[in-house]
Symmetry: C2
Subunit: 228 residues, 2 copies
């Protein structure tokens, strides 16, 4: 875990557009990754980029991904080629007084690097544990762990978090001065933010579950991030 405390050590992980929204603290990167549930993995396949959603887990400054050993994108990503992994949380819709200044409030982490196919048995289990616990906290200890056959069917990839950037937009619209209306205007164009968040509904028990099985606290009391 010897990644530097600040981000943006490279050219491509330095935010250029809207750089006032850039965060350079590694803690911000961790916070965005920990708040999200899925990310989008980009890898070149047959001469074209492919972007697919996937779950993930984090241990320190290592991100773990997994999937079927038969998945083409995962096989490609595990082959040591450059990849990009992006997690975006949408926090609000920004209504402005002009179409041009409409925007979104969001938190976004972009990780660049080369994924490593994890082969060590202990690290594979660590990766699967943090993946499972990120998706469903408490499930690693409450459910049956992967057996040999399941492990053989699963590829685990590790992606170092050293080269990454974080961009966060918060707050009201950034309207032009000319579009602001004085207090005397009776019917001004409404501007502001419609905040968005992800919420969990009532847990839906599996139809094969014995009747009356109680929903455990790990599901019932699950605290979701403001947006995920």
């Amino acid at each position: 875990m010897d990644a530097p405390a600040s981000l943006s050590p490279t050219d491509r992980s330095t935010v250029r557009r809207g750089s006032r929204r850039a965060r350079t603290d590694r803690a911000d990167l961790h916070a965005v990754l920990d708040a999200g549930l899925i990310g989008h993995l980009g890898v070149e396949l047959g001469g074209a980029p492919v972007v697919l959603p996937t779950g993930y887990g984090r241990s320190g400054d290592t991100l773990y991904l997994h999937g079927s050993t038969g998945a083409a994108t995962l096989r490609a990503a595990g082959g040591g080629v450059p990849v990009c992994f992006t997690v975006t949380l949408l926090d609000g819709i920004v209504y402005a007084r002009s179409a041009f200044h409409h925007s979104m409030n969001y938190r976004c982490a972009v990780v660049h690097g080369r994924a490593r196919l994890v082969e060590d048995a202990d690290e594979r289990l660590l990766g699967l544990r943090v993946l499972t616990e990120h998706l469903a906290p408490g499930s690693w200890t409450a459910t049956r762990l992967p057996d040999r056959k399941e492990l053989a069917a699963t590829a685990v990839l590790a992606l170092d978090l050293t080269e990454a950037s974080v961009k966060i937009r918060t707050g009201p619209p950034g309207d032009d001065e000319r579009d602001l209306e004085g207090p005397e205007v009776a019917d001004p164009v409404w501007a502001g933010v419609l905040p968005l968040r992800t919420v969990a509904g009532e847990p839906e028990p599996c139809p094969l579950l014995p009747g009356g099985a109680a929903v455990p606290a790990r599901v019932r009391d699950r605290a979701l991030s403001p947006s995920a």
Copy 2:
């Protein structure tokens, strides 16, 4: 609008992993795109894939993207190179009786192609209109439209929806027979789905808005998709 009614005309847009989750109806593609708010655009930049979140809009079988003319990824994407644009809606966390069968319920659309830099003035306005209306329905008519300077600073890209795939997972976990417990088990491992959805909070007026300005129906009554 001469895209075929069914999807998957090419090898790379044919779903292979979990193909029982594939949808091949173009209406499913439109529905996923219309329900999402942001997508992730993948493009190669300097020999490595870059994946960035962006808003979008749809007109028939054309997807419109936009951004600053100074944004490197957008410039690259508009140069006629292959791109991938992916929209994912997370609908639930699937708790299984084994770690291996944990999953997510989701809807995902993946579009492959080459983006076209829109140069025709009318089509540029069309693109910006559907982008704005997708993000904030009603805003195109309620707010100031882009002026010449704003238009000059904005690149509009068009991406044809011909080559695309849709994958949707719904329903309970797909547990192994061996992990199911009979009705006599007093404390079975809970399995089921924790549904997720995106909700809007109270609109937050811009601090520069004259006091007491009413929140318009286009914001207040906005119907969000179940997940976005």
